[in-house]
Amino acid sequence: MATYAVEAVDLVKTYPAGRKNPPLRALDGLTVSVGEGVVLGLLGPNGAGKSTTVKILTTLSRADSGSALVAGYDVNRSPDRVRRSIGYVPQKSSSDPMATGLENLVLSGRIFGLSRQESLQRARELLDRFGLTEHGDRPVKTYSGGMQRKLDVALGLVHRPKVLFLDEPTTGLDPEARADLWNEVVRLSGQEGLTVLLTTHYLEEADRLAGQLAIVDHGRIVAEGTPEALKASLRGDSVHVELVDPDTDGTVRALLGQLPGIGEIVVEGNTLRARVDRGATAVPAVLGALEDKAIPVVAVTVSRPSLDDVYLQHTGRSFRVAEEAA
């Protein structure tokens, strides 16, 4: 029956924004579904509404309107069943710093109804799996950021959930710890038909981990599909032009806009990025036009569309600009 592990329809969530301001619309009719056993990446800049979506799906928060089924249960009508079926790793670290890693895991297991023995066994198993065995008896406050995050994920797995929610699992980690955790998530997703919904604002992470992507902007999903399909949906190539001086008055933009086979152009400081039909013909044309006007150039590069281009296509902003604005 339930081929979807998560089915959310038209979620709206507003937060009061002080007396004078109108309420802030964090989710504005968000609809998303995740197939069983799939890793879905919810990708978007800060403030897009990713955490809000996760909080509603995990029953922590409640939508103003819309509906959501998680593991086949309605989040409003059967929150307790949903809670028993999911693991939730919040954006902020969710372990008790005064307790040891082992104690954290055992307590979590027991809250989900495991016996003391089962809980202890499961806790040891998870410590081992996340390479934390030798730190299991140390208070969490002595852990590094990467170790804490691994423990957070382990805490979400104690009771063998059907659906795991990871809210920005690697934000703030150094590259090594991030790669470590990525490997862990990849391993997880291959096992036991676990469905994973992870949020991220790293394009690279989404590309690496998610089999399905949903791009969120201003509280809505603006594009969905596999990373490959999303990239393939963009015709042509992407050209990046790096100038010596910023194009403050828009002359370069106007100049390139006139060339044949050039799509939308986005300016960010010293760089211009354009969608082109064919990189091989566009580059000489671009270089020629710039040389004619004696505009100094640092570099011109061509690339296959990236997720950043997908993002640009659907939101009208490049990911980096959206991030900085947030």
């Binding site: 909080k55 928060s61 989900f112």
Partner: protein, 255 residues
């Protein structure tokens, strides 16, 4: 709920015995109050009707209640810490019983109160306080102090869930606990206090506890007064306990 209460209680007890500095502070503070106020008022206050008893004997049950009140005002800081991390959110998205989440923390808070009460009595007695009431008097005092701790601990937890800020919590709890301490018979006998203080004290749960404790420790306790005040206190504790458990919902609506 009972199983979850036990689990949550265990968590907070482990956390507190890992903070020896905090334990020391919670024990030294009431000792200082008792000795300081004892010295301060001893010579100044000539209590009519206190002929053969000492001021320290009068003061000790009062300091017990004051300590229970003041310490419990901090109770909510543990919730604030959980909210600053993702612990509270993870818990609330789990099947944990909300009642258990509240009760377990309050039980660990009440355990602190219990230890403080015993310590204050030990110091009071060492300083010369004597009571005719016997073991039952001590028991009533201990139960009353734990009820004060639980009632004001759950208020503090509720304020924590509503404000989510350490500063706001401490501000509010001090704003409430100072008047409750002074508009009561904790330090001065009602017969020498201004009339309006006595009126205010009638509505003060800390004063109910103080009266119940003093009465039950006296040579000839007025048991009807003891049970009436204990009943008020119990009802108050249950009501605020229930209300504060509702505060989880308010918190969940705001995240």
């Amino acid at each position: 709920m009972i199983a979850h209460t036990g689990l949550v209680f265990g968590r907070w007890m482990r956390a507190s015995y890992r903070q020896p500095a905090l334990i020391a502070f919670t024990l030294v503070q009431p000792a200082i109050w008792l000795l300081l106020f004892g010295q301060l008022f001893q010579g100044v206050v000539r209590l009519p009707g206190f002929g053969d008893s000492s001021y320290i004997a009068f003061l000790t049950p009062g300091i017990v209640m004051m300590t229970a009140l003041m310490t419990s005002g901090w109770s909510g800081t543990s919730f604030v810490q959980d909210m600053e991390r993702g612990v509270m959110d993870r818990m609330l998205a789990s099947p944990v019983s909300r009642g258990g989440l509240m009760a377990g923390q309050l039980l660990s808070n009440a355990t602190t109160t219990l230890i403080q009460t015993i310590l204050v009595f030990a110091i009071g007695i060492a300083a010369g306080a004597r009571y005719d009431g016997g073991i039952f008097g001590y028991l009533v005092t201990i139960v009353a102090s734990m009820l004060v701790g639980t009632a004001f601990g759950s208020l503090s937890n509720a304020v924590a869930l509503l404000t989510r800020q350490q500063e706001a919590l401490i501000g509010i709890s001090q704003f409430v606990s100072l008047p409750l301490t002074f508009m009561s018979s904790i330090m001065i006998d009602p017969t020498v206090a201004p009339h309006w203080v006595n009126v205010a004290a009638r509505f003060n749960p800390v004063d109910w506890a103080t009266i119940a404790a003093r009465q039950s420790l006296a040579a000839a306790p007025d048991w009807s007064s003891v049970s009436r005040h204990c009943l008020y206190l119990l009802a108050f504790t249950l009501i605020v306990g229930w209300l504060s458990t509702r505060a989880f919902r308010t918190y969940q609506r705001s995240v």
